[in-house]
């Protein structure tokens, strides 16, 4: 049940987002659309996105320029819904309408990487006049028919594929690599370029096409309307606040001896709280070893599931549909007493360690050839950090409250070549604990300890996973910095965010 705490590496899932490709010659003419759907089709657009992907290996560099295309659709006045992964790291977005060759510039209004949705708007909304706003429907029935509309690979013009709802499940969203939400699996063909396109039932949107499965056939995934509606509600106040979490880990109470030891009746009820994240929404209200009985009045079974409208859902789905600041009622047993409490929801700390970052410039601090970065999913994968210490710190970051002492985990990711650093290579990838005896909290603090404080003759750095200190004579540090910045084309000694 740690699903909400840990990074889910969904290797098999690929965002259905086409990389930039030249249009094939001699594309077939578009088939005559059915009259009834003509206006609906007109509200589905092709998105062409130029991207600049940050480079976490050399964080001072501009990163890689690339691009791709996807789909978006009109859901309100100058409101075009698409996937976050279509517009992630974008530098320019161009929208092409059906039967038109004009490329209309657009801008992101809101983006939610945790549920892979984004809302964009045209810089000049005039061409959208007269187009219908696709209405957002409800949850479709299993085995009911859906159509996926979009601009996937294989041609330039609008594509429609048809299939049925194969499965409704709670699954990983590959874009952030950390989040799981409700999904709908369909057997309609969903291919690169379909991303951000609507899945339609009747004349209502029942989802947004967003990812597929590499090792299986006819498994397309769409984001269902509860997730879409949550996103649209969240941004009503002008900003996106992210998903909230209870911040607890639970364990099923199937075992008869366990039920007996916990003095629970022999029935299918209740889950054991095995961890409460410090400073999380439940901290101070729920304790380890409490037994959760119900959430917002819904009885929790011994596997941690609840029944809502006849559907079995995991208990976290109650929280899924709520927002920061909302409350949730919990009923639980502590020391044989049934109690109730109401907690106020908020997001969990530390998401960059678990969730991939987009639209962010990587931060770093350079000191005499040593490059420090905060540990994020991006920096970890760029520098291939997979040693036992790093994995232990990240996997226990929340449940052992490592975040309290280390809001950021600082890694010596690179050592640039210089006479000073020529024998320091073994430290690459080490986790920084202290600078001159003081524990480092985050990258900003690292910078301050190195640059804002008068350095002793030797700056002494100690590491979590190395048993000898790294020592830098501080006398000539400016000269060393200058030399290294010139050789490696590093513009500044640090980037610590806007």
């Amino acid at each position: 049940m740690l699903r909400h705490f840990v990074a889910v590496m969904s290797l098999g899932l690929i965002p259905a987002f086409a990389q930039l490709a030249l249009p094939p010659e001699g594309a077939a003419p578009a088939p005559t659309p059915r009259v009834a759907s003509a206006t609906l089709f007109d509200s589905v657009f092709r998105l062409e996105v130029a991207t600049q992907t940050p480079d976490y290996r050399t964080p001072w560099n501009a990163g890689g320029f690339s691009g791709g295309n996807g789909t978006g659709f009109l859901i309100g006045p100058n409101q075009i819904l698409t996937n976050a992964h279509v517009v992630a790291n974008s530098r320019r977005i161009l929208v092409t309408m059906r039967n038109s060759s004009r490329k209309l510039p657009a801008t992101i209004s809101h983006v939610a990487h945790d549920c892979d949705l984004a809302l964009i708007s045209l810089d000049d909304p005039a061409p959208l006049e007269g187009l219908i706003h696709l209405p957002i429907g409800g949850m479709p029935e299993l085995d009911s028919e859906v159509r996926a509309i979009g601009y996937p690979v294989g041609g330039d013009r609008l594509s429609v594929t048809r299939g049925i709802v194969s499965r409704i499940d709670f699954r990983s969203y590959s874009h952030s690599r950390a989040d799981s939400h409700l999904i709908i699996q369909v057997d309609a063909a969903i291919n690169p370029g379909n991303s951000g396109g609507p899945a339609i039932q009747g004349d209502k949107v029942i989802g947004v096409a967003f990812q597929g499965l590499t090792q299986a056939d006819n498994t397309g995934y769409i984001i269902p309307t509860p997730v879409i509606k949550r996103f649209l509600t969240d941004i009503e106040d002008g900003q996106y606040d992210k998903y909230v979490d209870l911040g607890i880990a639970t364990f099923p109470i199937f075992n008869p001896a366990m039920r007996k030891a916990l003095q629970l009746p022999d029935e299918d009820r209740g889950v054991l709280v095995t961890n409460v994240i410090e400073d999380g929404p439940c901290d101070g209200f729920i304790e380890k070893d409490d037994i959760l009985l119900s959430i917002d009045g819904n009885a929790i079974d011994s596997a941690g599931n609840i029944k809502v409208d006849g559907e079995t859902l995991v208990l976290h789905e109650i929280v899924e549909r709520k927002f920061a600041g909302d409350t949730v009622k919990l009923e639980f047993i502590r020391e044989q007493q049934t109690q109730a409490t109401e907690i106020t929801l908020k997001p969990l700390p530390g998401s960059p360690i678990f969730a991939a970052q987009y639209d962010e410039r990587p931060q770093y601090v350079l000191y005499g050839g040593l490059v420090f970065q905060n540990l994020t999913l991006n920096s970890m994968s760029a520098h291939r950090l997979s040693d036992v210490t790093t994995r232990y710190l990240t996997s226990n970051y929340l449940n052992k409250a490592i975040f309290k002492e280390r809001p950021e985990i600082i890694v010596l990711t690179r050592i640039e070549s210089d006479a000073l650093t020529s024998n320091m290579g073994v430290f690459e990838g080490s986790i920084l604990n202290t600078i001159n005896g003081e524990s480092v909290r985050d990258l900003q603090h690292t910078y301050e300890l190195l640059y804002d404080v008068k350095q002793p003759e030797f700056t002494i750095l100690e590491f979590e996973n190395d048993d000898r200190p790294l020592v830098i004579p501080s006398a000539n540090i400016d000269a060393v910095n200058k030399r290294i910045m010139k050789t490696n084309n590093i513009p500044t000694t640090s980037y610590l965010g806007e």
Partner: protein
């Protein structure tokens, strides 16, 4: 260097490029890689000895234990190599040859006569074993024991001995190209070796081979790389220390200092440590509590400048009078024995000092680096399988064991200091054999045990004893170091389940460590 170790290692200790799992596969792999039969050519003229008659075949049946199901052994494998008669009843071979053997025999060259043998002394880290026949054997009596040779020099010619299938003795002459240290069996423990250059033939019994010079035994060949025609031979210093120790009836093993060191090539670091720009020295990065180094007051942060009169350079090398530069560990782990003393010259905060140290046998570490010949202890209770953590257990996760083995166990192995208090070993729940008692717990594995019924668990014997006592309200409470925190076991039901497991073919519900270690086993340890 890519080395094809001749001996068929179990998958647990396979440290070579080969991934052979069965003797057949291994033989194939060797023959594919080996260059066609040798013409000894030029070096033939330099051959120094006529045929020696001091060698026997050593045949071993090897059965390792199954890490995941420690109550059973893996399938038997046959291993065959050569041993050298060094007295009327002593045969020297490698530890690798006989580790985890369940049957051992000596055989003459043409395979017509055999006698069962036993291990008298074995050192897994130095990779040497001393055998003796369990009864008199006429074919052994006809052989001439070999004397031990003196240390060789780089450039010397060495004879490597093999048996052909038809019983012919085969000799290959190779040249000592370098002297170095290497771990020939247990990873992480390097000992003095000779690196030989010479093309060898893939004959039968072409591993664990005697190496002689001028008709005297100087070492045992442990590996041969057919691509580079390089072989490694355990040096005579190691052989003679091993024999001296083994022959006094109480094998203690090679001594240790009990400290870890780091190189000091980093100029900034040298300046900080007040080391001269041209000198050497090793930074002491860890001192194991209770070790000889700790008793002699060696401290973290000291710089080790010399051992006895040998100066250490900044990489930790000293100048050996005949071999040239060698790693400093040779000064401790070569001709020194437990009880011998050395003097360390140390720089502490700019002050020179001399620390006399009496060397000791290595302490048993919290997580043993290797387990050979002693079956892994285990305890089954209600379908829960408990074991003691060892590196061998983690390595059984295969090639990518460092990432595939449970993270918390890997972390405990790397950070024993965080677990050492209150523990002699790390007891963990290795798996659950699904049964009605374990419903809801079936998927638990790789979780360290902290307490049982409120009592801290020092080792698996204690765990077994705690679980024998009747718990309050009939349910054992087992505290884990990880999710789900606590598991519960119904005492009565789990006993019933255990009886069913026995009926289903499990040979026993526990195997607890013997009070006294078997005499032939060297203690497992860390440097």
């Amino acid at each position: 260097m890519k080395t094809n170790t001749f001996i068929l290692l179990s998958t647990l200790v396979l440290a070579t490029g080969l991934s052979a799992d069965s003797p057949e596969e291994h033989a194939r792999a060797i023959s594919e890689k080996t260059v066609a039969p040798v013409t000894i050519g030029k070096s033939n003229q330099a051959a120094t000895t006529s045929t020696l008659d001091s060698f026997v075949r050593v045949n071993a049946t090897i059965q390792t234990f199954n890490a995941g199901q420690p109550w059973q052994r893996n399938g038997p494998q046959r291993r065959s190599g050569l041993g050298t008669l060094i007295s009327a009843s002593e045969i020297l071979t490698t530890a690798e040859m006989v580790a985890n053997q369940t049957y051992l025999e000596l055989e003459n060259a043409d395979s017509t006569q055999r006698v069962q043998a036993q291990v008298i002394a074995i050192d897994y880290k130095a990779n040497l074993a001393l055998l003796s026949p369990i009864k008199e054997a006429p074919f052994l009596k006809r052989k001439t024991p070999l004397q031990l040779g003196t240390p060789a020099r780089i450039g010397d010619l060495i004879d490597i001995w093999q048996f052909e299938n038809n019983g012919t003795t085969l000799k290959t002459v190779a040249t000592i190209r370098a002297v170095d240290t290497s771990s020939t069996f247990i990873p992480g423990y390097s000992f003095l070796i000779y690196t030989l250059k010479g093309s060898m033939q893939s004959a039968s019994s072409s591993f664990t081979l005697p190496a002689t010079r001028d008709g005297k035994l100087i070492g045992v060949l442990t590996s041969y790389d057919s691509e580079d025609q390089i072989s490694e031979v355990i040096a005579p210093e190691i052989v003679s220390t091993f024999l001296k120790d083994a022959r006094d009836g109480n094998y203690e093993g090679f001594p240790t200092l009990g400290c870890a060191t780091r190189r000091t090539e980093d100029e900034a670091f040298r300046e900080y440590l007040q080391l001269s720009p041209r000198g050497g020295g090793l930074y002491v990065s860890r001192v194991r509590p209770g070790s000889p180094a700790a008793k002699a007051d060696l401290r973290v942060g000291d710089v080790l400048l010399a051992i006895d009169r040998s100066n250490l350079d900044r990489r930790g090398f000293f100048e050996h009078p005949s071999y040239g530069p060698l790693p400093w560990t040779v000064l401790i782990r070569s001709d020194k024995m437990v009880g011998d003393s050395v003097t360390l010259r140390v720089l502490r905060e700019g002050q020179l000092m001399e620390l006399p140290i009496t060397l000791e046998a290595p302490q048993a570490p919290l997580v043993p680096t290797h387990i050979n010949d002693s079956p892994p202890p285990f305890l089954i209770k209600g379908g829960f399988v408990f074991q003691e953590l060892s590196r061998s257990y983690l390595r059984a996760y295969g090639d990518k064991w460092a990432t595939r083995a449970p993270l918390s166990l890997m972390y405990a192995m790397d950070n024993p200091d965080k677990y050492e208090e209150d523990r002699d070993s790390i007891v963990f729940l290795s798996r659950v054999l699904p049964n009605p008692v374990t419903i809801g717990y079936d998927s638990l594995n790789g979780i360290i045990i902290n307490q049982v019924n409120g009592k801290s668990v020092r080792n698996i014997t204690e765990l077994a004893n705690f679980l024998k006592e009747a718990p309050e309200n009939g349910i054992h409470t087992i505290e884990l170091d990880d999710t789900p925190g606590t598991v519960y076991l119904d005492a009565t039901l789990s006993d019933q389940v255990d009886q069913q497991l026995l009926q289903r073919g499990l040979p026993a519900l526990s195997r607890l460590p013997a009070e006294e270690p078997l005499p032939q086993q060297a203690a497992t340890n860390n440097e």
